[in-house]
């Protein structure tokens, strides 16, 4: 079970070894990156059955929590941990001309993201988050185009402000409780963090992590960055990194800040994200810009879903997150050929009917049309929202459908342009690999439709695990049989 | 020189019923035809001003069962009032052919009788019954309403006595009338009504219906048989 730590260590090592090895032979350096990823996948696969039965907490270096650094591995985090190497492998910059620096940055990215997902310690999360941020700034800058450098600088500014606020949040938490271990903190939270300070801390962490998770006030960088980077990287960032940030924030919220105000704050920001995302996407005239705004909208939806207390919220959130993780990168892969203004897509259905059909399948699922998984996610969200009776959720209940109507308007306006009679198409050919990924994503959607029942059960177990605080505490502190004994022991 | 008054017409042509018993029924129909006449006055000239007084309260034509009608389809009597210029004669003939028989023509004012005071004019048709079979003439350079009503009563008596068959003459001697018309309007003269078809349909044709004038008409007449209701896939 302990070789989970290798997930973080090996890519980190490879990241720093790669430039050195590159001196001797290019080939070895290139192969190293891939082999590390494959090895990571192998580790996860053989750990998978064990985690399925019982979540575990690994104390690194033998220092038991709450002092030492501990990794917490349960079904949710292992799922995302698996997603990281798979997605990086899929979106590995295969082109010949990519420099070794980019490979090592990718390795750094994998290391920091898997660490972020697995770590059970607040400060550890902050460190990995910083590492991830640095990796993504430099990855954007390394594209070499002037516009991407400017975008990465603006993203750097936003990111650094975010990380400073997150650090402040952690500081407040530390002053209040004196510990940084998540399990321990969740024991102390009802006593110490249930006041204004706790709420402030949560707000700061939320906005801090929000930068990476495209949360409402801090997502100005999204359109510029996705517009300027290669679609591989954009797919990776939109698909994977934003979900990781969301999962971490949710885990913190569930464990540390279960009070309703926190959830409503997150819900409010989520609703604003949905509305602004969809509305601006309605005006977007460029394919990639439209995709990025729609991803802001979808992320807002995911935040809103997670902010619903109880199981249904978690289920809706995870469903939406996983669905978005599959669909959005596929759409970005389609953008390899179709970037540029929407008008030069007019009549493209005549030129490549299958790709357009795939595009339609993907956006149908994004919109939530019944047989496709997107619908079940949206159904869970609506049921969750309907269950709550506080004002924010009813506002969400009204805002989400309206946003969906705007979304269908601009998506189907694009489909109309594609199916126009006159054939004035000015698009490049898709990259074979990109098409393959998109097609596989479409196949995944259809597979889920056929396997609806097992997928539903898997989703319910994931949600239970994510929302169950005592289970988390039990696994980290096996000696406390129940949460209450833990509480007495502290007082 | 055409003779007025006694138009040689065989009254029996085109009779529907042959058995004698039907005679009683025909008597009734003839009586009703005389008692209810729908009048269409074509105000070709000055004579028309005499008709409103004949209709209104002082002389009241309705006593005789005469009602003014607007379209030739519904009318029985065509009152040609006043001089008939060549241009108007074309329209009078068209209106006459659109009327449904038994139809009667009453020429009011002496201009229809023999040219009247416009006898010298190059533009007017002098004798009406060369172009249409006329039943009754009412002379007078604008006959007074009493004269008009007297003319009407004379027509009613004619119909009662069974002498109201001038309309058959138009079918039976169509070639003569057509000749006069073509003489005046030129050879390419034609009306949208298919008189020859109608004559054949009602069995009113005689050998005099056809002649060289009808041949001239045949050459340039546009086809007039109606669009038959047919099912053709």
């Amino acid at each position: 079970m302990d070789n989970i730590v290798l997930l973080v260590v090996l890519p980190l090592l490879a990241a720093f070894l790669m430039p050195v090895l590159a001196r001797f032979s290019e080939v070895v350096a290139r192969v190293l990156g891939l082999s590390v990823l494959v090895f990571a996948i192998a580790i996860i696969i053989n750990v998978w059955p064990q985690v399925n039965s019982q979540a575990t907490s690994i104390a690194i270096g033998g220092f038991m929590p709450p002092i030492g650094i501990s990794f917490y591995v349960d079904q949710v985090s292992i799922l995302f941990a698996l997603a990281i190497p798979v997605m990086v492998l899929l979106f590995w910059p295969w082109q010949r001309k990519t420099s070794i620096r980019e490979y090592s940055l990718m390795m750094l990215l994998t290391a920091s993201s898997s660490g972020l997902v697995l770590s059970g310690d607040l400060f550890n999360i902050y460190v990995f988050y910083e590492l991830l941020a640095v990796a993504s700034y430099s990855l954007i800058a390394v594209q070499g185009r002037a516009v991407s450098i400017a975008a990465s600088f603006r993203y750097l500014l936003m990111g650094s402000v975010g990380s400073v606020m997150m650090l402040l949040g952690i500081a407040i938490i530390y002053t209040q409780t004196g510990t940084l271990n998540l399990a321990h903190l969740s024991l102390l939270a009802p006593l110490h963090l249930d006041n204004m300070a706790g709420l402030a801390a949560f707000a700061l962490i939320l906005v801090g992590m929000g930068v990476k998770a495209e949360l409402f006030p801090v997502n100005n960088w999204v359109p510029e960055v996705y517009g300027s980077v290669s679609s591989n990287l954009a797919a990776l960032m939109a698909g994977l990194l934003s979900k990781l940030a969301v999962i971490v924030v949710v885990r913190i919220m569930v464990l540390l800040f279960p009070q309703p105000e926190a959830m409503q704050l997150m819900a409010m920001l989520g609703i604003l994200g949905v509305i602004t995302g969809e509305l601006v996407a309605w005006r977007a005239r460029d394919f990639v810009r439209m995709l990025s705004f729609s991803s802001i909208g979808q992320l807002g939806l995911i935040f809103l879903a997670f902010s619903i207390p109880g199981d249904t919220g978690m289920m809706a959130g995870i469903a939406l997150a996983l669905h978005h993780m599959v669909v959005k990168p596929a759409l970005f892969m389609l953008a390899t050929g179709w970037s540029g203004s929407l008008e030069n897509l007019s009549g493209v259905a005549r030129r490549s009917p299958l790709t357009v059909l795939l595009f339609v399948l993907l956006i149908l699922s994004l919109l939530g049309i019944p047989p496709l998984p997107g619908f079940w996610a949206k159904y869970l969200l609506m049921v969750g929202l309907a269950g709550q009776d506080s004002a924010v959720y009813t506002l969400g209940m009204i805002a989400v459908p309206l946003a969906m109507i705007v979304e269908i308007a601009y998506l189907f306006r694009l489909v109309m342009i594609m199916y126009r009679k006159e054939d004035t198409v000015k698009v490049k050919a898709h990259s074979k690999w990109g098409l393959a990924i998109a097609a596989s994503a479409g196949a995944a959607l259809i597979a889920i439709v056929l396997q609806l029942q097992p997928a539903g059960d898997k989703l319910t177990t994931l949600a239970q695990q994510l929302s169950d605080r005592n289970y988390y505490i039990m696994t980290v502190f096996p000696q406390f049989h129940t949460a209450e004994t833990g509480m007495q022991s502290i007082k | 020189m055409s003779k007025i008054g006694n138009i040689p017409v065989n009254a029996q042509a085109g009779k529907k019923r042959t058995n004698p018993l039907a005679g009683v029924f025909d008597e009734l129909v003839q009586f009703c035809q005389s008692r209810s006449m729908f009048m269409l006055h074509y105000c070709t000239g000055c004579g028309a001003i005499e008709l409103p007084p004949a209709m209104t309260s002082r002389f009241d034509m309705e006593r005789l069962g005469i009602q003014p009608m607007v379209t030739p389809r519904q009318a029985d009597i065509l009152l040609v009032t006043g001089y008939v210029s060549v241009k108007t004669l074309k329209r009078v003939i068209l209106t006459y052919e659109q009327m449904q028989s038994p139809k009667y023509v009453i020429g009011i004012c002496s201009c229809t009788v023999n040219g009247g005071m416009y006898w010298q004019s190059y533009a007017t048709a002098k004798v009406l019954n060369e172009y249409l079979p006329v039943d009754v003439y009412i002379a007078g350079c604008m006959p007074r309403p009493e004269a008009v009503i007297e003319g009407m009563r004379r027509l009613m008596r004619n119909i009662e006595e069974g002498k109201g068959h001038a309309w058959k003459d138009y079918f039976q001697r169509y070639d003569y009338y057509l000749g006069n018309q073509q003489h005046l309007f030129g050879d390419d003269w034609q009306t949208p009504t298919d008189i020859i078809g109608e004559a054949r349909h009602y069995g009113l044709e005689t050998e005099q219906t056809y002649g060289e004038h009808t041949r001239i008409l045949e050459q340039h007449q546009q086809p007039l048989e109606p669009h038959k209701m047919r099912i053709k896939f």
Partner: protein, 296 residues
Amino acid sequence: MSTITELLTELFLMPLIAFMVGLAMVLMLRKIGARLQRRVGPPLLQPIFDIVKLYGKDTQVSHGLIHDIGLVMAVGGYVAAEIFLPVPGMDGIADKGGIITLSYVMMVPSLGLALGVGQCANPNGSIGISRALTAMLAYDIPFIIVVFGVAAHYQSTSLVGMIEYQQAHQWGIFEMPLLAAAGLFALQGMMGKQPFEIYVAPAEIATGPMVEMSGKYMGGLFVMQTFQLYTAGVLYTSLFLGGGSNWFEFLLKIFVVVAIPMSVAFVFPRYRTEDMVRIMWKWPVMAALIGIAFVL
């Protein structure tokens, strides 16, 4: 329900009576018109003379099969409508279909005539028909409100039931004066006489729908006019004047009912189409609605 043989005699007798009474009504119409214009007016049997003369015509013009069928539907529709109207001693099939069926059966002749005139391919006819249908739209709304009020008041839609109710209680006119007034106004429109006769404007569109009707076609329309007057009269009496217990009283009522709109007709000029619709939707509808307010 009367037995089959009785019904068959009724099937034969009712339209015949309708025709006879209708002829008398047409004579009365023309006599009133003449008297108002200080004229002598037509002789006694003039309507019969006209109809026999028209049917006795030797040549008739038809524009096609639909033109003929249109006429047959027009006359046939009214013959069928007569059988729905209860007459003292004969009920016909009034209880098989109530007022609503009757008001719809009365639309069959106008639709049939419209189809027939349509095939005459004469724009005067088409303009006339478009105005006739607009007129129908105009007078049918107050008429339907009146029907609603009456049906609601008598709690039944079959004319036979209504007449019994009125025989037992007072006449309809006393219990629902406003509805009766509105009904009379609608009757004026329904009979298509002078103030609301825009679709037969002789000078403007050459008698509208009747422009291409000659011989037996025109005769059919004269017969239809007789039925129209008779139906209007009998419908109004059975709704408001309690039908007829014996024939003399019944005939007297019908003639009085029909005489009022006739005398109004010859005094008024002709309204334009939109004015007719405006007037019909303003005054009678107002009166009828207030009348209903009292009834409900």
